[in-house]
């Protein structure tokens, strides 16, 4: 029983970290139909900014998180105007090639500017150390990640499903020409959603940094994991991404505890099984 509860706690925490860090990609891929392989690179920029703000400048964690999101979005705006805008609606291969190119450029710059070593983000005292759950102790920053995950999931759902902006976004995604004819400024809608996705990437980079440490190759290392979460959950579906993160987190954590020698076997077995049963992802819409 102890073991089961313990695995459940670890799974929830790991799954939520996966969710926070992948949801931005789900937004770009599902709502904006852009295969943005530079998602990990933006998460990494967020992590670097937060690390610099807390370690070098000594700013408090809360301000560092906001700074990370703002700075990453500021970096992304010119990229959106000059590069991404050209590939909206382009064939997927074009999108993949360009965004992977951007990723390599960002890796090179990060390596040059920040150096090849690991960077950590200083956590406030409340988030350090273990918290006693009764049956076991768990790291406080993991509980924080769970909380952030819940807030992000709820907030996004409200935004997309219950606000005028959400209506415009869904309209622009379904039929851009018709939406424009009806007076929706699709370019502005796209720009805002892109900024939102990048902001989420940066937030994920910061919140997830305790499990996925910030270093120049971060941008490539974890890209496969993010893509798996999005494809299992169904691109563009918030609930799908949440379900996928939790299921994959559970499978991965259980396998790591009970049969670590099998490596990623059970993780990918689960992925194959889910994708075979639900070709569009758990809650994805058919094309």
């Amino acid at each position: 029983m102890q073991t089961i509860l313990s695995i459940a706690a670890d799974s929830l925490a790991y799954g939520m970290v996966l969710f926070v860090i992948s949801i931005g990609l789900s937004v770009t891929m599902g709502l904006m139909k852009v295969v943005n392989l530079a998602h990990g690179a933006f998460a990494m920029i967020g992590g670097y900014v937060a690390s610099y703000a807390t370690q070098q400048m000594g700013l408090p964690f809360g301000i560092a998180v906001i700074a990370a999101i703002v700075c990453t979005v500021l970096v992304a705006i010119p990229l959106e105007r000059l590069l991404y805008r050209r590939i909206y609606g382009a064939p997927e291969l074009t999108q993949v090639l360009m965004s992977i190119g951007i990723t390599f450029a960002i890796i090179g710059i990060a390596n040059f500017v920040m150096g090849p070593t690991l960077k950590t983000i200083a956590l406030p005292e409340q988030l350090q150390g273990p918290v006693d759950l009764g049956f076991r102790s768990i790291a406080a920053h993991k509980l924080f990640a769970v909380a952030v995950g819940i807030v992000v999931a709820g907030g996004l759902w409200l935004l997309v499903e219950r606000t005028p902006f959400g209506v415009r976004l869904r309209a622009a995604v379904d039929d851009a020409a018709m939406a424009e004819a009806l007076g929706v400024k699709t370019k502005a809608v796209y720009a805002i959603s892109f900024a939102l996705a990048i902001g989420l990437a940066a937030l994920g980079g910061v919140v997830g940094a305790q499990l996925l440490p910030i270093e120049p190759y971060y941008a490539l290392h974890y890209m496969v994991t993010f893509l798996v979460v999005v494809s299992v959950g169904g691109a563009g579906s918030i609930a799908g991404a949440l379900a996928a993160s939790l299921i994959l987190g559970l499978v991965q954590t259980t396998a790591r505890y009970l049969a670590p020698e099998y490596g990623e076997f059970f993780f990918y077995l689960a992925v194959i099984a889910i994708v075979c049963t639900f070709p569009n992802g758990l809650l994805g819409r058919s094309k």
Partner: protein
Amino acid sequence: MKKLFLASLALALTSSVAFADTIKIGVVGPFSGPASLQGRNFQAGIDAWLAVNGNTIGDHTIEIVYRDLPAADPAQSAALTQELIVSEGVQYLAGYYYTPDAMAAAPILEEGNVPMVVFNAATSAIVNASPYVVRTSFTTWQTSTPMAAVARERGINKAMTVVSDYGPGVDAETAFVTAFGGAGGEVVESVRMPMNTNDFSPMMQRIKDSGAEAVFAFLPAGPATLGFMQAYVENGLKDAGVTLLAPGDLTQEPDLVALGTNALGLLTTFHYAVSHDSPENAAFVEAASKAIGNAADLSFPAVGAYDGMYVISKMIEATGGNQDAAAAVEAVKGLSWTSPRGPVSINPENRHITQNIYLREVAQEDGRYINKEIQTFEAQTDPGWKAP
């Protein structure tokens, strides 16, 4: 007339040695990509040696030719090695960060008449791949074995091993299990973790459940060590008194800044600490810090490269600059000198370096985290080497 011709011919034949010439050394290493820090350390070690000793040996000028191999890639390693020998005309090969790369290049050496000095790759079997391989780094067996004695001295009877699931990890596990069992301890469980593990909490829970008093861990230097150390502290193993023992890869100096207080007090065994207290090391650290630009980036591959350059310089001296791999390797068998890491020698039997292995404790000094040497295991050979 004929006499004059003969005389000039004789002069031409004998003078190839006397004339100053350039001897090229080809260095293969990860100078870009995820392990570029280690490649830069190769470069820093070489540059430091050249800065201290100059780039001439006798009448010969040394020229270093670098080739970049960003990730372990045996086919590419063989291709680069061949290119260095054939088109660059290098007389010596050096570097090689990963075992598969060194293994792939070794079969070319005899045909090319070129010795190879391995600056890092740490699997015992590499020296058996060719009689022209000399190694100035360490083997995982060499750095892991003394840890068993350390554990027993601290009264630990039951230990568990946790290693990354690849060659050096398996080496570390076998070395520790063999030595710990031999010293009367019991290994209750051995777990191999997949290379790309990032959440170590489940592993820590398993260590707790195993009832071991200590855990022996091996992870390659790099990002994973951070998550591992953090999980060890956050899951309460440090507070519960479960001792963490590891070879020094886990706490290489550039990573210590990030590991921070989590690593304080951690015991590791390794062949080199940047903080080693000796005049040779002080001179080395000064020169190598200047070469790498930032003293905090300095790590163990630099000392492998520095000593490797010393070995190559002795080879050049012994062969008078002529290309003779067999004579060059023969000349350094049994060579002993004082390295920045302490007294070392080349074991004539397997051409691997015999050296002190130090027990170190992560400590904080003047606001910096260091690997503080607290015990010395003198003149350790490679216990993992088996005669072919």
